[in-house]
Symmetry: C2
Amino acid sequence: MSDAIERALGEIRFGPDGLVPAIAQQHDTGEVLMVAWMNREAARLTLTEGRACYWSRSRQALWRKGETSGQTQRLHELRLDCDGDTVLLLVDQHGVACHTGRRSCFFRAWRGGDWAVIAEPDIAPEELYPERPGQ
Amino acid sequence: MSDAIERALGEIRFGPDGLVPAIAQQHDTGEVLMVAWMNREAARLTLTEGRACYWSRSRQALWRKGETSGQTQRLHELRLDCDGDTVLLLVDQHGVACHTGRRSCFFRAWRGGDWAVIAEPDIAPEELYPERPGQ
């Protein structure tokens, strides 16, 4: 483990549960793709491997984004906020970020007194997860 | 209280602590300005007043962004992610979002093995909080 990476991690203020929220943003278009969570090991892997790695709260396991779906996020730059308790990942998203097959997870917008679906899937979910139907 | 607003709130999955993370993004440039937290009442006020309102975890109080500093965020659109547990606010930021006087809270970037400060304050913090020096 390099000292530099440890210095990077040392500035991140992980919460009482060991996690910080991490926003993934497409580096060139500015589109907010998703929000997930990172523990220290996920942040370390993200920096060392140059691809987004999160902590899945539902599975309680490290989650290299795209390991099942192939929809990886190459790390362009990692940024930290003023309090050190939120991470912003500028990434290059391969394919789609959302498990529904949409480019971004933020596809519902409050418009005219109702929730509007503002994006359709680019890929059918069953193509993303051929071995896990219904996921 | 309108039924529509209650319908909006009904789709937001607040966590065990009653909160969801909320990302504020400048609506036209795509710049991610800050991340804060919302409880149900903060989300309600944001929709009814058309300006960002958060829940301050440090002060344990509702926080109408800009009420002290004047740096308000006019709501352009509220979006919700696939799981319903993260909110994206497209806003028009008046002035700066960060308490350090910078436009965005994400002013530290990991570059070349160290944290680089990539933005300088637009406003001196003591101008933002003239009655609370040091804040």
